[in-house]
Symmetry: C2
Subunit: 149 residues, 2 copies
DNA sequence: TCGCTTATTTAGAATTATTCCAAGTATTGA
DNA sequence: TCAATACTTGGAATAATTCTAAATAAGCGA
């Protein structure tokens, strides 16, 4: 954990997958590299298209499988903001998502403190493993897609 | 607002819809009553089935339209926790959702304070209108569906 | 109250998103 | 190196949501 940053992305990923009993495969590595190389919020479909550039034989089913594996071993987050397709996010720092209801874009926003479980009234036998915070609203005045609204 | 609780659910809903330029229709009223009469987290499909009991002619397209109208005028919340269908929640008190990753059930959890925007670093020209907080983890030891996992 | 304008409803088709399947392939541990 | 089994593949199947065009009904003003 404290030394993860010393590993190359391959070793890092391999280790994280192994911790969950998942195998390190070429497909998962390519999907992971796609996600860390462009830190936006692509859908599975977009990940599929980007991954095909370096791994043309990959299938959609494998993209879903890989994304699930990466989420399970916590190197990627799944983001569900609306009724549409799920999005994936490789920024694992504590952060929330701002989702513009006018243009649909999703932005990472830093949390000033990390989210604290005690603010919430959870039954004592529930185990909280993660917290997702999504803000909704409208993004910048300068947003092209928002202006015409 | 402060006097909304003095209105019957019909008048209340009618007023809220009108504030957003939306019409008060029999279908929207039935969908709304379905949601407030059972405070769980049904999907559009489940809302459709329940609403048909009091309004058999209603169509799925109208259920989606009604749910969107109710969300727009803020008498109902849309809850997106996973890749599956969106869920709808008529509890409008400040609360978060706890989603059990083992059995899939969603629970309302009270917030000790209402969520505060200032905890988050949002660009100054962004307008935050609402905040959704979702906790993930595992629910009670006594949960039937969880035990076999 | 009547009529007009326009939002809403409807059924069903179309589209989009995700999951399933069975056969072949690759990874891991012994 | 070998066996066991997890993973990948393409395509079919399913699930979730949106679209469409014609019929209907709200709400406003006279």
């Amino acid at each position: 954990m404290a030394t993860d940053h010393l590993l190359g992305s391959g070793e890092f990923l391999s280790k994280r997958l192994a911790e969950k009993g998942l195998r390190f495969t070429s497909q998962r590595k390519h999907v992971y590299e796609v996600l860390i190389s462009q830190r936006d919020h692509p859908t599975a479909e977009e990940v599929f298209m980007r991954t095909k550039q370096s791994k043309p034989e990959i299938s959609m089913a494998t993209v879903y499988n890989s994304l699930d594996a990466l989420v399970k071993c916590k190197v990627v987050r799944q983001v569900n903001v609306d009724r549409g397709a799920a999005m994936y996010c490789s920024n694992m720092n504590a952060h929330a998502h701002f989702c513009c209801d006018d243009c649909g874009k999703v932005f990472d926003v830093n949390l000033k403190d990390s989210p604290r479980v005690p603010e919430v009234d959870v039954p004592s036998d529930f185990e909280v493993r993660s917290i997702d915070i999504a803000l909704h609203g409208r993004c910048s005045d300068k947003c092209e897609e928002c202006v015409q609204n």
